[in-house]
Amino acid sequence: MIFNLKNESMKQMTKFLATAIVFFAFSVVTFAQASATSNASATIVGPIGISNTTPMNFGNIAVSAALGTVAMDPAGARTPSGGCTLPVVTGGPTAAVFNVTGAANYTYAITLPAVATNITGPGPAMAVDTWTSTPSGTGTLSAAGAETLTVGATLNVAGSQTAGNYTSVTPFTVTVNYN
Protein backbone atom coordinates (compact mmCIF):
# COMPACT_ATOMS: atom_id res chain seq x y z
CA MET A 1 0.00 0.00 0.00
CA ILE A 2 2.78 2.33 0.91
CA PHE A 3 4.58 1.48 -2.30
CA ASN A 4 1.46 2.18 -4.29
CA LEU A 5 1.00 5.54 -2.70
CA LYS A 6 4.55 6.51 -3.44
CA ASN A 7 4.18 5.44 -7.02
CA GLU A 8 0.99 7.43 -7.37
CA SER A 9 2.63 10.62 -6.08
CA MET A 10 5.54 10.25 -8.56
CA LYS A 11 3.04 10.15 -11.38
CA GLN A 12 1.44 13.31 -10.11
CA MET A 13 4.82 14.96 -9.91
CA THR A 14 5.62 14.04 -13.48
CA LYS A 15 2.38 15.45 -14.72
CA PHE A 16 2.87 18.61 -12.75
CA LEU A 17 6.31 19.16 -14.16
CA ALA A 18 5.19 18.54 -17.74
CA THR A 19 2.37 21.04 -17.38
CA ALA A 20 4.68 23.58 -15.84
CA ILE A 21 7.06 23.40 -18.76
CA VAL A 22 4.30 23.87 -21.26
CA PHE A 23 2.89 26.84 -19.42
CA PHE A 24 6.31 28.36 -19.12
CA ALA A 25 7.05 27.99 -22.80
CA PHE A 26 3.77 29.44 -23.89
CA SER A 27 3.09 31.70 -20.98
CA VAL A 28 2.16 34.74 -23.02
CA VAL A 29 -0.58 33.03 -24.95
CA THR A 30 -1.94 31.11 -22.00
CA PHE A 31 -2.18 33.91 -19.50
CA ALA A 32 -3.27 36.69 -21.85
CA GLN A 33 -6.09 34.58 -23.13
CA ALA A 34 -5.82 36.20 -26.49
CA SER A 35 -4.51 35.11 -29.81
CA ALA A 36 -3.09 36.77 -32.81
CA THR A 37 -2.11 35.57 -36.21
CA SER A 38 0.89 36.48 -38.15
CA ASN A 39 2.14 35.53 -41.53
CA ALA A 40 5.36 33.62 -41.52
CA SER A 41 7.73 34.49 -44.31
CA ALA A 42 11.15 33.42 -45.37
CA THR A 43 13.47 34.68 -48.10
CA ILE A 44 15.62 32.11 -49.69
CA VAL A 45 18.89 33.89 -50.41
CA GLY A 46 20.85 32.47 -53.28
CA PRO A 47 24.41 31.63 -52.41
CA ILE A 48 27.02 34.28 -53.13
CA GLY A 49 29.47 33.34 -55.83
CA ILE A 50 32.72 34.74 -57.21
CA SER A 51 34.75 33.82 -60.25
CA ASN A 52 37.91 35.20 -61.79
CA THR A 53 37.46 36.31 -65.39
CA THR A 54 40.73 38.17 -66.04
CA PRO A 55 44.14 37.49 -64.46
CA MET A 56 46.28 40.33 -63.15
CA ASN A 57 48.93 41.42 -65.66
CA PHE A 58 51.55 44.04 -64.88
CA GLY A 59 52.55 44.17 -68.55
CA ASN A 60 56.03 45.09 -69.73
CA ILE A 61 58.43 46.64 -67.25
CA ALA A 62 61.94 47.92 -67.93
CA VAL A 63 64.40 47.86 -65.07
CA SER A 64 67.73 49.48 -64.34
CA ALA A 65 70.34 48.52 -61.77
CA ALA A 66 68.19 50.14 -59.09
CA LEU A 67 65.28 48.29 -57.51
CA GLY A 68 61.79 49.63 -57.95
CA THR A 69 58.08 48.96 -57.87
CA VAL A 70 55.12 49.08 -60.20
CA ALA A 71 51.84 49.87 -58.48
CA MET A 72 48.71 48.98 -60.40
CA ASP A 73 45.42 50.44 -59.24
CA PRO A 74 42.13 48.50 -59.56
CA ALA A 75 41.47 50.35 -62.84
CA GLY A 76 44.67 48.88 -64.30
CA ALA A 77 46.66 52.14 -64.34
CA ARG A 78 50.34 51.59 -63.50
CA THR A 79 52.69 53.85 -61.56
CA PRO A 80 56.41 52.98 -61.65
CA SER A 81 58.92 54.04 -59.05
CA GLY A 82 62.63 53.60 -58.41
CA GLY A 83 64.49 51.77 -61.19
CA CYS A 84 61.31 50.68 -63.00
CA THR A 85 60.07 52.37 -66.15
CA LEU A 86 57.20 51.51 -68.44
CA PRO A 87 58.02 50.88 -72.12
CA VAL A 88 55.86 52.36 -74.87
CA VAL A 89 54.92 48.79 -75.77
CA THR A 90 52.75 48.16 -72.73
CA GLY A 91 52.31 44.38 -72.90
CA GLY A 92 48.57 44.70 -72.15
CA PRO A 93 48.53 45.47 -68.42
CA THR A 94 45.26 44.85 -66.65
CA ALA A 95 43.93 44.60 -63.12
CA ALA A 96 42.37 41.30 -62.06
CA VAL A 97 38.62 41.09 -62.69
CA PHE A 98 36.20 39.02 -60.62
CA ASN A 99 32.48 38.54 -61.17
CA VAL A 100 30.46 38.43 -57.97
CA THR A 101 26.92 37.03 -58.07
CA GLY A 102 24.21 36.56 -55.46
CA ALA A 103 21.06 38.13 -54.05
CA ALA A 104 19.89 41.38 -55.64
CA ASN A 105 20.93 44.54 -53.79
CA TYR A 106 22.71 42.64 -51.01
CA THR A 107 25.97 43.98 -49.68
CA TYR A 108 28.95 41.74 -49.18
CA ALA A 109 32.33 41.88 -47.51
CA ILE A 110 35.49 41.63 -49.61
CA THR A 111 38.61 40.01 -48.21
CA LEU A 112 41.84 40.56 -50.13
CA PRO A 113 45.04 38.57 -49.56
CA ALA A 114 46.83 39.54 -46.35
CA VAL A 115 50.20 38.32 -47.56
CA ALA A 116 52.34 38.66 -50.67
CA THR A 117 52.13 36.33 -53.63
CA ASN A 118 55.34 35.50 -55.48
CA ILE A 119 55.63 35.42 -59.23
CA THR A 120 58.45 33.39 -60.67
CA GLY A 121 60.38 33.38 -63.93
CA PRO A 122 63.93 33.35 -65.25
CA GLY A 123 65.26 35.47 -62.37
CA PRO A 124 64.62 35.74 -58.64
CA ALA A 125 60.96 35.59 -57.59
CA MET A 126 59.19 38.93 -57.32
CA ALA A 127 56.66 39.68 -54.56
CA VAL A 128 53.24 41.11 -55.30
CA ASP A 129 51.62 42.82 -52.32
CA THR A 130 49.63 45.89 -51.18
CA TRP A 131 46.34 44.65 -52.59
CA THR A 132 43.58 47.08 -53.45
CA SER A 133 40.12 46.65 -54.94
CA THR A 134 37.17 48.49 -56.41
CA PRO A 135 34.78 48.37 -54.65
CA SER A 136 36.88 48.38 -51.50
CA GLY A 137 35.87 46.58 -48.31
CA THR A 138 32.16 46.27 -49.04
CA GLY A 139 30.45 45.63 -52.35
CA THR A 140 26.80 45.91 -53.32
CA LEU A 141 25.20 43.55 -55.76
CA SER A 142 23.07 45.11 -58.48
CA ALA A 143 19.34 44.61 -58.95
CA ALA A 144 20.34 41.78 -61.24
CA GLY A 145 22.42 40.30 -58.43
CA ALA A 146 25.88 40.90 -59.87
CA GLU A 147 28.88 43.16 -59.50
CA THR A 148 32.31 43.37 -61.08
CA LEU A 149 35.17 43.45 -58.61
CA THR A 150 38.60 44.59 -59.81
CA VAL A 151 41.82 44.05 -57.89
CA GLY A 152 45.18 45.81 -58.16
CA ALA A 153 48.48 45.33 -56.34
CA THR A 154 52.12 46.38 -56.23
CA LEU A 155 54.94 44.45 -57.92
CA ASN A 156 58.35 44.64 -56.26
CA VAL A 157 61.23 44.41 -58.75
CA ALA A 158 64.88 43.86 -57.82
CA GLY A 159 67.66 45.89 -59.39
CA SER A 160 68.74 44.39 -62.74
CA GLN A 161 65.91 41.85 -62.48
CA THR A 162 66.47 39.14 -65.11
CA ALA A 163 64.42 39.76 -68.24
CA GLY A 164 61.60 37.42 -69.15
CA ASN A 165 58.07 36.35 -68.31
CA TYR A 166 57.04 35.88 -64.70
CA THR A 167 53.92 34.02 -63.52
CA SER A 168 52.39 33.22 -60.15
CA VAL A 169 52.82 29.56 -59.19
CA THR A 170 50.10 29.83 -56.56
CA PRO A 171 47.25 32.19 -57.48
CA PHE A 172 46.06 34.82 -55.03
CA THR A 173 42.67 34.44 -53.34
CA VAL A 174 39.80 36.90 -53.03
CA THR A 175 36.97 35.98 -50.64
CA VAL A 176 33.46 37.45 -50.46
CA ASN A 177 30.62 36.87 -48.03
CA TYR A 178 27.21 38.41 -47.41
CA ASN A 179 27.16 41.06 -44.73
Binding site: V45, N57, F58, V89, F98, A163, Y166, P171, F172, T173
Partner: protein, 177 residues
Protein backbone atom coordinates in the same frame (compact mmCIF):
# COMPACT_ATOMS: atom_id res chain seq x y z
CA UNK B 1 -6.62 13.69 -24.19
CA UNK B 2 -4.17 15.39 -21.93
CA UNK B 3 -1.40 13.20 -23.23
CA UNK B 4 -2.17 14.31 -26.77
CA UNK B 5 -2.09 17.96 -25.76
CA UNK B 6 1.39 17.63 -24.27
CA UNK B 7 2.66 15.98 -27.43
CA UNK B 8 1.25 18.78 -29.54
CA UNK B 9 2.98 21.43 -27.45
CA UNK B 10 6.18 19.45 -27.51
CA UNK B 11 6.05 19.35 -31.27
CA UNK B 12 5.55 23.10 -31.43
CA UNK B 13 8.43 23.54 -29.07
CA UNK B 14 10.69 21.40 -31.25
CA UNK B 15 9.64 23.31 -34.35
CA UNK B 16 10.45 26.55 -32.64
CA UNK B 17 13.93 25.36 -31.76
CA UNK B 18 14.48 24.10 -35.30
CA UNK B 19 13.37 27.46 -36.64
CA UNK B 20 15.82 29.25 -34.41
CA UNK B 21 18.59 27.07 -35.70
CA UNK B 22 17.76 27.93 -39.32
CA UNK B 23 17.74 31.63 -38.53
CA UNK B 24 21.14 31.44 -36.89
CA UNK B 25 22.73 29.71 -39.86
CA UNK B 26 25.09 31.90 -41.96
CA UNK B 27 26.05 31.54 -45.57
CA UNK B 28 29.61 30.37 -46.00
CA UNK B 29 32.14 32.73 -47.62
CA UNK B 30 33.23 31.86 -51.13
CA UNK B 31 36.56 32.50 -52.78
CA UNK B 32 38.06 32.71 -56.22
CA UNK B 33 41.70 32.75 -57.21
CA UNK B 34 43.54 34.67 -59.93
CA UNK B 35 46.99 34.37 -61.45
CA UNK B 36 49.47 37.21 -61.92
CA UNK B 37 51.73 37.92 -64.89
CA UNK B 38 54.53 40.39 -65.63
CA UNK B 39 57.27 40.71 -68.21
CA UNK B 40 60.63 42.25 -67.44
CA UNK B 41 62.25 43.98 -70.41
CA UNK B 42 66.03 43.72 -70.78
CA UNK B 43 68.14 46.73 -69.93
CA UNK B 44 67.93 49.17 -72.80
CA UNK B 45 71.31 50.33 -74.07
CA UNK B 46 72.59 52.77 -76.70
CA UNK B 47 76.19 53.05 -77.89
CA UNK B 48 77.71 55.48 -80.35
CA UNK B 49 79.28 53.49 -83.14
CA UNK B 50 80.18 56.44 -85.40
CA UNK B 51 80.90 60.05 -84.44
CA UNK B 52 79.32 62.90 -86.35
CA UNK B 53 82.08 64.09 -88.65
CA UNK B 54 81.76 67.04 -91.03
CA UNK B 55 85.13 66.24 -92.60
CA UNK B 56 87.65 68.71 -93.93
CA UNK B 57 86.64 71.99 -95.50
CA UNK B 58 87.66 75.58 -96.06
CA UNK B 59 85.36 78.39 -94.89
CA UNK B 60 86.07 80.73 -97.77
CA UNK B 61 85.53 84.49 -97.47
CA UNK B 62 81.85 84.37 -96.46
CA UNK B 63 81.49 81.18 -94.51
CA UNK B 64 78.31 79.14 -94.87
CA UNK B 65 76.80 75.81 -93.87
CA UNK B 66 77.69 72.16 -94.15
CA UNK B 67 74.72 69.82 -94.04
CA UNK B 68 75.05 66.11 -93.32
CA UNK B 69 71.92 64.04 -93.63
CA UNK B 70 71.28 60.93 -91.52
CA UNK B 71 72.06 58.97 -94.69
CA UNK B 72 75.57 60.53 -94.65
CA UNK B 73 75.18 62.65 -97.76
CA UNK B 74 76.88 66.03 -97.53
CA UNK B 75 76.10 69.39 -99.07
CA UNK B 76 77.58 72.87 -98.62
CA UNK B 77 76.09 76.36 -98.74
CA UNK B 78 77.82 79.74 -98.99
CA UNK B 79 81.50 80.04 -99.71
CA UNK B 80 82.41 76.84 -97.90
CA UNK B 81 84.66 74.66 -99.98
CA UNK B 82 84.51 70.98 -99.17
CA UNK B 83 87.90 69.27 -99.10
CA UNK B 84 88.81 65.64 -99.40
CA UNK B 85 88.58 63.19 -96.54
CA UNK B 86 85.91 61.23 -94.78
CA UNK B 87 82.68 62.57 -93.36
CA UNK B 88 79.70 60.77 -91.91
CA UNK B 89 76.51 61.04 -89.91
CA UNK B 90 76.52 59.82 -86.33
CA UNK B 91 75.35 56.27 -85.70
CA UNK B 92 74.03 54.74 -82.51
CA UNK B 93 73.43 51.06 -81.89
CA UNK B 94 70.42 50.43 -79.68
CA UNK B 95 69.85 47.11 -77.97
CA UNK B 96 66.82 45.94 -76.01
CA UNK B 97 63.74 43.77 -76.11
CA UNK B 98 62.46 42.62 -79.50
CA UNK B 99 59.77 44.89 -80.92
CA UNK B 100 60.09 47.38 -78.08
CA UNK B 101 59.27 50.90 -79.20
CA UNK B 102 61.28 53.88 -78.01
CA UNK B 103 61.46 57.63 -78.34
CA UNK B 104 64.26 59.75 -79.77
CA UNK B 105 65.04 63.22 -78.46
CA UNK B 106 67.61 65.28 -80.38
CA UNK B 107 69.39 68.40 -79.08
CA UNK B 108 66.87 71.23 -78.86
CA UNK B 109 69.40 74.04 -78.89
CA UNK B 110 72.53 74.62 -81.06
CA UNK B 111 75.55 72.64 -79.93
CA UNK B 112 78.79 74.61 -79.71
CA UNK B 113 82.05 73.27 -81.17
CA UNK B 114 85.19 74.91 -79.82
CA UNK B 115 88.52 75.38 -81.57
CA UNK B 116 91.12 73.19 -79.88
CA UNK B 117 93.71 76.01 -79.68
CA UNK B 118 91.56 79.13 -79.34
CA UNK B 119 88.18 80.25 -78.06
CA UNK B 120 86.64 80.39 -81.53
CA UNK B 121 83.45 78.45 -81.94
CA UNK B 122 81.02 77.05 -84.49
CA UNK B 123 77.48 75.86 -83.89
CA UNK B 124 75.68 72.70 -84.95
CA UNK B 125 71.92 72.82 -85.31
CA UNK B 126 68.95 71.47 -87.27
CA UNK B 127 69.41 67.97 -85.93
CA UNK B 128 67.53 65.17 -87.60
CA UNK B 129 67.57 61.41 -87.49
CA UNK B 130 66.42 58.16 -89.03
CA UNK B 131 64.12 56.97 -87.48
CA UNK B 132 62.80 60.51 -86.96
CA UNK B 133 62.70 62.08 -83.50
CA UNK B 134 59.50 61.77 -81.49
CA UNK B 135 57.64 59.51 -79.12
CA UNK B 136 57.61 55.85 -80.04
CA UNK B 137 59.11 56.44 -83.47
CA UNK B 138 61.81 53.82 -83.00
CA UNK B 139 61.22 50.08 -82.91
CA UNK B 140 63.74 47.43 -81.90
CA UNK B 141 63.00 44.83 -84.53
CA UNK B 142 64.84 41.65 -83.49
CA UNK B 143 65.88 43.55 -80.38
CA UNK B 144 68.26 46.04 -82.02
CA UNK B 145 68.29 49.06 -84.28
CA UNK B 146 70.80 51.57 -85.62
CA UNK B 147 69.83 55.23 -85.37
CA UNK B 148 71.61 57.63 -87.74
CA UNK B 149 71.82 61.31 -86.89
CA UNK B 150 72.66 64.26 -89.11
CA UNK B 151 72.90 68.00 -88.51
CA UNK B 152 73.95 71.33 -89.99
CA UNK B 153 77.28 73.02 -89.15
CA UNK B 154 77.35 76.81 -89.30
CA UNK B 155 80.72 78.02 -90.52
CA UNK B 156 81.91 81.58 -90.10
CA UNK B 157 84.51 83.48 -92.05
CA UNK B 158 88.14 82.46 -91.97
CA UNK B 159 88.62 85.13 -89.28
CA UNK B 160 85.83 83.67 -87.12
CA UNK B 161 86.85 80.10 -87.73
CA UNK B 162 90.59 79.78 -88.15
CA UNK B 163 92.15 76.59 -89.37
CA UNK B 164 92.14 73.80 -86.84
CA UNK B 165 90.04 71.14 -85.20
CA UNK B 166 86.74 71.97 -83.52
CA UNK B 167 85.10 69.61 -81.06
CA UNK B 168 82.02 69.53 -78.91
CA UNK B 169 79.62 67.14 -77.29
CA UNK B 170 75.90 66.69 -77.59
CA UNK B 171 73.30 64.45 -76.01
CA UNK B 172 70.68 62.36 -77.71
CA UNK B 173 68.16 60.63 -75.50
CA UNK B 174 66.61 57.29 -76.33
CA UNK B 175 63.76 56.44 -74.03
CA UNK B 176 61.28 53.61 -73.67
CA UNK B 177 58.74 56.16 -72.52
Amino acid sequence: MRRLKVSFFSLLFILQITGACVMAQTTPPVSATGHIFAEIIPVFSANEIAQLNFGRFSPGPMGGKIIITPQSTISVLGSVFKGTGSFNAASFYLFGDADAAYSITLPGTPVILTHTSSAKTMTVEDWNSVPPPGTGTGMLRDGAQVVNVGATLNVGTIYDNPVGVYTGTYTITFDFN
